[in-house]
């Protein structure tokens, strides 16, 4: 679990996940999209609370699935389109556990961790609003 201003080195993360000796590795990477001409994405967070939120999510994933390893890295600060915002990786003996835990971590991270996005297009900087679909995606893990 890591919050960082540095670029996310996926090759290094995958290497570490593969060394965890599971048979199945699932990953999710979120990239900055250039929706309608976004030039910069700025990610702000609530430092102590994000670390707690990510640790809690990892602990819940470890309770629900039998994982050999799990990684969550969230970048903060200013980013350009195409750069990686977030990386989630999970390792398990079998694929269903790795895939489900990976989807769980990214869905819940979207609603449970205190990050905020601001998009800049030319002179126009605006904070991204909450997405209803994110809340629905996170909620399905609470019901199941």
């Amino acid at each position: 679990m890591l919050v960082t201003e540095a670029a996310i080195d996926i090759a290094a993360e995958l290497d570490a996940l593969e060394r965890a000796c599971g048979g199945a590795v699932a990953t999710f990477t979120g990239l900055v999209r250039d929706d309608g001409g976004v030039e910069e994405l700025f990610l702000e967070h609530y430092p102590v609370a994000t670390e707690k939120a990510l640790s809690d999510l990892a602990a819940e994933a470890a309770r629900r699935w039998s994982l050999a390893a799990a990684t969550v890295i969230h970048r903060v600060g200013a980013m350009a389109p195409g750069e990686r915002i977030v990386f989630v990786g999970t390792v398990a003996a079998h694929r269903a556990e790795a895939l489900e835990a990976c989807a769980f971590l990214i869905d819940r991270l979207k609603t449970d961790a205190p990050f905020w996005k601001r998009e800049t297009r030319g002179q126009d900087a605006r904070w991204v609003g909450e997405r209803e679909s994110d809340r629905d995606a996170a909620d399905r893990w609470k019901r199941s």
Partner: protein, 84 residues
Amino acid sequence: MIDLLYFAWVRESIGIGHERATPPAEVANVAGLIDWLAMRGGGYAEALGDKTRLRAAVDQLFVPLDASIAGAREVAIFPPVTGG
């Protein structure tokens, strides 16, 4: 004395991300704290006028706005999160 933290457009409207304040004894919960801060007017009124747009954490724990602030050391006020 409570540490107050503001994030995203709440921080930008208010103009600072962190301050310390001692709310009066009748301010019992987060909603009351927000109303009390909004009374300062200006960027506070602008940021804190519509509580349906706000979320909060007490001592780094997400809470509903009717949560007590008794004994709280840190209260954070912010919009719905949009990470990931």
